[in-house]
Symmetry: C2
């Protein structure tokens, strides 16, 4: 046992090079202990164990600085930098997050959860070093999948001009979350096949120095190269060939499904937690129906095809026919392509996870909405019910979608509303339409026949007087629960409204409320600041209507339980009733 | 004279190949006629005249589709597609915009003003063609400067996988707005020097087919290659070597200053309009003072160094010492680098034009603010006084900055406030700080000594009762003018407040207004929806205070006069007084 004596990188350096593989094996076992018990990112971490051991053997973190791209492969790094208990001991599993975190350790430079940022951030660290006359090494570790993102490519370009120490370790396991997409992956394959000798080297094309390591799990080979590039006086790419999921045969074989996930039995990889009910297929079904009924339909996605329910042969089939387009980690390109396709007569849909749409703000505004092309954007898992790590939250989708001219931003509550909104969006040619797809739909079993071409028409779900609650999409159930409790308490009905359109106000309805309402409460699961509710406060600003806006405080919330975070911000039946006294 | 008979691309095709250069000369003269009389983009248009003639000679627009990146080089294209009068006849100069515009002509596919979008948009058009079983050619024309942008690089990658017709014409004049930055430009130079034969071809690294044209002003050579690639069944890069400013010796020699600008005398290039007063140097001076007094200071910029006042030898000097970093057209990288540099002990400042910051929303949120690194962001020319083409407006900076956690967004009114805010931002280590730098500063000649570490403290500029106007930054003069007019009319004072912090409210001050004020009016030069004023409406929502928010309607406003657009939205002394009756 070596790992028990490892409390930081200095302890790694005390081990002889011959014994480093044993340390790596123990580190891998620690990773497996954690992920088999509580899940997490699997393949990415298993694939970088030897790489991480070699990095900490050669470099001197935290003086030398590592930046882990997307940082979901930082478990071995955490194990070797004083946080091994979080991998060995169930009582300490919650001591660490799944991403690098400077609050946990000086060995972590940044909180990182979005891809393709490491080379830029490392270049920044290097510039900071330079003005401080420092001599430390700055090392970015980036996976092949992340290379396709615009921020990474911009940074590779600037690195090709930069003239001081920077080491870019490309951890090439020939896999993104799903399979890679893009021409650079043909070039990476050629480089792997020729042990780095193929012509038209992608990295050299950016003006970068380059070295190749074929045996990415051979620690002496890694150590040799890292020693060679340590203290180098210019940027260099160290292209390392690794195996995603290394060490667990089922993970090596099924790289997409073993990218991340829940607890499993180590013997055979079978899941420990059986799903209690099948996953909701509403979005997937709507897309398949569109593809089958509209031969002009094209679905765009950026490296998260499973989030749309497209996997396996079905995905391959539609991809082969050019109807399902995964552009890889390249959200900007996907948004602009959707605009271009809509312009040229396609029924274009682009869907991905809400936090990653943050990188398409300019493309949404300039490429799509300025041109008013009728593409449909599916904003998956937005708001408080989306991901709950501060590296991945999406608590500002209303902020960056709702003010963009020409766009309709729709917020369904139920499955049936979503289906009707999607049909409207994909059958009209008047505007770009984005749909805020809740993580979980309610369902009332009754088809929605709303004509969504009547822009900004809100839905009155419950008709009362004195008090109205305007509840964005997925919060309608909270409003209805409040109305029920209020009726039980007072015998009176309150009004409950779903605005459905977040990009405008139903001014007729809001005006009519002035007749017999005194208070309008708005609830939304995004930040309060700049959100939907404040538009209503503004509308009523010079009237006698009282307005109370509820939303989330402006913080990078993390590790929250959605209903509890809402409750802390007053969004619960109890909290709302308290406003009505 | 051939041009007089050109009413569309069909007429270009009627001219014999020997006479096309004469048509090109006449087209260039038409470009010069316009730019010498009313200014505009100069070098980019002069450099693509022959290229454009050859494209229209070979391809069949609008069936074949051209996408002009950033589209400031589309004048020759407009001249050849039915819009020549706008270049020949002063009475028609206003008939066209400076950018492609589908409202003007079917030969224009998109409104485009931001760089690096053409390959993505073209890929989208190509996908639209595919599902419609079309056979047209799709041609993106992109300058070397635009290649460094993330969206373009993402699209080159996807193009390397795409398997149908797409022609990417790289118009390589070895110049961005200023000089190019990034390693790819070393590679492009090698390709030019070897007539396309150099190893590690940047484009082939993306998996793309490639052909080189050395004589980018030789129409027969261009026509030959375009004929060859027309109807090609896969993507290909046609790398064309051109001369920016071709045809005007002074423009060829001084490529940066001849990128764009005002009217000039053709004989010698001297400006027709002498500047009436020297340009304001407040921002530049603040940066130089920082550089000279803080040896840890680094200024980041993305291809618009002159917007910060850095030109010529001064820029070269700071660049050589690593203190002024132009990353090229790569705003995402600049924002993330600023975060990294601030993390590692630099005093990091990133400044560029407000519309281009739209492409850094994710980097602002995830790379900078999530990590709470104390970089300073200068948002240049935001709001209604910024650029006034719908392709370049920046009417939503408050929307995409003000809700981001950890950020302070400051809005100075005067030069003196800016100076003090900049000193605060660059001397503190508590937060990222962005400053909304107005295009024109007021000045009162009295140094501002405000302690901006007192977050959210607003400034009461005039103390009155009953009515208060809260005016964002550059609109304070309108509020003061209103107060003066109100006093003249009624003898009473109204309160005028500059919030200075747009990322939070001075709740103590706002609460105190409840004592002796009945109406709060907010004015801002961004969209009303999701803006600053609505936060104040929300604050007062359940009180008796009346609030009236004024801001711009949510549209892609274009070709407006700032004060008139404000007036149309009620933001003028007259408009405000009308609310006070």
């Amino acid at each position: 046992m070596f790992l028990e004596n490892i409390n930081g990188p200095d302890d790694v350096k005390k081990i002889s090079i011959e014994n480093l593989q044993t340390l790596a094996d123990e580190t891998r076992a620690a990773v497996i202990n954690r992920i088999s018990n509580i899940g997490g990112h699997k393949g990415p971490n298993l694939g970088v164990v030897e790489l991480t051991v070699a990095l900490h053997y050669v470099f001197n973190s935290p003086t030398d600085k590592f930046v882990w791209d997307v940082s979901h492969q930082s478990y071995p790094h955490k194990i070797l930098t004083g946080r091994k208990e979080a991998y060995l001991d169930a009582e300490h599993f919650n001591d660490v997050t799944g991403y690098t975190n400077p609050n946990e350790s000086d060995h972590d430079q940044f909180k990182i959860g979005h891809t393709s940022t490491s080379v830029s951030l490392a270049l920044g660290l290097a510039k900071g070093r330079d003005v401080n006359n420092g001599t430390e090494n700055v090392v970015a570790i980036i996976g092949d999948g992340s290379l396709s993102g615009g921020e990474a490519l911009e940074a590779l370009d600037y690195a090709g001009e930069y003239d001081k120490n920077l080491i870019i370790v490309v951890n090439d396991n020939d896999q993104s979350i799903a399979e890679n997409h893009g021409g650079i992956y043909k070039t990476l394959k050629k480089l792997r096949d020729t042990k780095g000798e193929a012509p038209n080297n992608f990295f050299k094309g950016f003006g970068l120095d380059y070295i190749y390591i074929d045996e990415g799990h051979n620690i002496p080979a890694l150590v040799e190269v890292f020693k060679k590039v340590k203290d180098i006086d210019h940027p260099i790419v160290v292209h390392v060939h690794t195996i995603k999921g290394k060490g667990l045969s089922y993970a090596e074989e099924n790289r997409e499904s073993w990218h991340a996930g829940g607890p499993f039995n180590i013997e055979d990889g079978s899941p420990k937690n059986k799903p209690t009910k099948p996953a909701d297929t509403t979005v997937h079904d709507s897309l398949v129906e569109l593809l089958e009924t509209d031969d002009k339909a094209v679905i765009f996605n950026a490296a998260t095809p499973a989030s749309l329910g497209f996997i396996g042969e079905e995905r391959q089939g539609y991809a082969k026919r050019g109807r399902f387009v995964d552009v890889g980690i390249a959200e900007e390109n996907a948004m602009a392509m959707a605009s271009g396709a809509a312009k040229n007569g396609a029924t274009a849909v682009f869907g991905t996870m809400a936090p990653f749409l943050q990188r398409t703000y300019d493309q949404l505004s300039h490429d799509l909405c300025l041109n008013n092309n009728p593409a449909t954007i599916l904003v998956l898992n937005p708001g408080v019910y989306g991901m709950n790590s501060d590296t991945h939250i999406a608590l500002s989708d209303i902020q960056f979608f709702a003010h963009v001219p020409n766009l309709l931003y729709l917020a369904p509550t139920s499955k049936e509303e979503y289906v009707q909104m999607f049909k409207y969006a994909t059958s009209q040619k008047a505007h770009p339409v984005a749909i805020r797809v809740p993580r979980k739909f309610t369902t009332d079993g009754i088809a929605d026949n709303t004509d969504y071409s009547l822009t900004n028409k809100a839905k009155v779900i419950n008709k009362g007087s004195d008090i109205a609650i305007v509840a964005v999409g997925c919060l309608v159930p909270v409003a209805l629960e409040t109305a029920k409790a209020y009726k039980e308490k007072t015998g009176k009905e309150i009004t409950v409204i779903s605005p459905r359109f977040l990009t405008g106000l139903d001014t007729d309805l809001l005006d009519s409320l002035k007749e017999d309402h005194k208070l309008v409460i708005t609830i939304e699961d995004c930040y309060l600041d700049g959100g939907y509710g404040q538009r209503i406060a503004s509308f009523y600003g010079d009237s006698d209507m009282k307005v109370k806006n509820l939303g989330l405080t402006k913080e990078f919330h993390s590790d929250f339980k959605p209903d509890e975070l809402l409750k802390e911000n007053g969004i619960s039946a109890t909290g709302l009733l308290a406003l009505m006294d």
